[in-house]
């Protein structure tokens, strides 16, 4: 799925950008198109890199590559902080206690994780941080959880069912206070900026519900298929 979407995003961008440029060049003489894009700019030489869509997507690609490195490097500090605290909590046995406390719920959701595995503790903390809107803490805790889940992964490089379940719960995360949206609403003079809290919680719960159902359905049919295959072998 990701392979297809990733490729098509790039291919479509280039085709649409190229098509737009071609349309502009054919339908309007060069001078006119310069003016319609930037009426204030009366330079003789055209800056094709800025003026054409193809030039824009090229610089967008280069900028995005730089941004990706910036984000990753920026994550190191806060990652180190939370991984350090998690290590202390782990050695003190806290994560196991946490994992035990939520075992009744997680047993159903994550059937392949053994009792009291530290992955469960990290996942619970990540989901709690997400709910409170603490995204600075949520990402490192989530990555810690993935690391623990990967220890149980028999095929390195391939996502396990439990990882996908966790990821889907995470992306459809229920946030009790969508702080960013509320802040922007308030800054634009909304009479009731918090009005979105309840609708957002309901929508997010629906997303989580559909996400978990999808994951569980796929896992159910996968299991059926493998059982059938093994039966056929016998």
């Amino acid at each position: 799925m990701l392979n297809h979407i990733w490729l098509w995003m790039i291919v479509l961008s280039i085709m649409i950008a190229g098509g737009t440029d071609l349309y502009h060049e054919v339908s309007q003489p060069a001078q006119a198109s310069t003016e319609s894009v930037k009426p204030a700019d009366k330079k003789e030489i055209r800056n094709l890199n800025k003026e054409t869509r193809l030039g824009q997507i090229t610089s967008a690609a280069i900028d995005a590559a730089g941004l990706a490195v910036k984000i990753s490097i920026g994550l190191i500090g806060v990652m180190a902080l939370w991984l350090g605290i998690m290590r202390v909590a782990d050695e003190a046995g806290m994560i196991k206690i946490l994992a035990k406390a939520v075992r009744p719920i997680t047993r159903k959701l994550f059937p392949d994780i053994p009792e009291e595995h530290p992955a469960v503790g990290a996942m619970v903390m990540n989901i709690a941080a997400n709910m409170l809107g603490l995204s600075n803490a949520a990402t490192p805790l989530g990555l810690k959880a993935m690391e623990e889940l990967d220890k149980l992964n028999p095929k390195k490089g391939e996502a396990t069912n439990d990882m996908i379940t966790f990821l889907v719960i995470n992306t459809s995360a229920i946030t009790i206070v969508p702080a960013t949206a509320i802040a922007i609403r308030a800054s634009l003079g909304s009479v009731n900026p918090q009005q979105i809290v309840v609708p957002a919680i309901i929508s997010a719960s629906m997303a989580t519900l559909i996400g978990i159902s999808t994951v569980k359905l796929i896992q159910y049919f996968d299991k059926k298929k493998t059982i059938k295959k093994e039966m056929d072998k016998v």
Partner: protein
């Protein structure tokens, strides 16, 4: 409602200091060598940050090109006739497409819509509810799987996007109902 908000606000401010205080002092009481074990754990932070880079570059480049190409306008134009079927104002459609792709991009679209139509209009209400109802799925897939070097994501994106669609459509219905 406002007391609830005060409680929640304080809860989110207190959460991190309390967690840090509790975890570290609990460790100390359990005779963990807190400083040494903190440093030991923190060492992994660098590896994780570096591991994510290739995955994030791949994802953000594709998303960046997609956004700059105007593909979103084409998609919105193509799907405009169908939005009325689910009761979505067509102005909100770019928001629905951008939300799983990019956090900053969807903040931009949401802010524009609220500036143009007002934060308390149906369009403003709907777009900000949409923003609060899901996460940036593509980013999460890249970062979370990247951190453990997973490139075969199997059905993760399918399930994640289905969940997003469910959340966004629910936001449309709820907002129409409450507005």
């Amino acid at each position: 409602m406002s007391t609830l908000k005060i409680i929640i606000d304080w809860l989110s401010i207190l959460a991190i200091p309390v967690i840090i205080l509790f975890f570290l002092s609990y460790g100390y009481l359990k005779k963990v060598r807190v400083y040494e074990s903190f440093v030991e754990g923190a060492k992994e932070g660098f590896d994780v940050g570096v591991k994510i880079i290739p995955y994030l570059v791949a994802m953000l480049v594709a998303i960046g090109m997609f956004r700059a190409s105007g593909a979103l306008d084409v998609l919105t134009w193509a799907l405009k006739p169908f939005t009325s079927l689910i009761g979505m104002p067509s102005e909100v459609l770019p928001m629905a497409f951008m939300r799983p792709l990019s956090g900053s991009g969807s903040i931009g679209i949401m802010t524009d819509l609220m500036k143009t139509y007002g934060p308390d209009s149906l369009i403003g209400f709907m777009s900000s509810t949409m923003f609060g109802s899901t996460e940036t799925t593509f980013y999460v897939v890249a970062v979370y799987f990247g951190a453990v070097n997973i490139y075969k994501t199997r059905y993760a994106l399918t399930a994640g996007l289905l969940a997003d669609a469910a959340g966004l459509i629910t936001a449309v219905y709820i907002c129409r109902l409450l507005y």
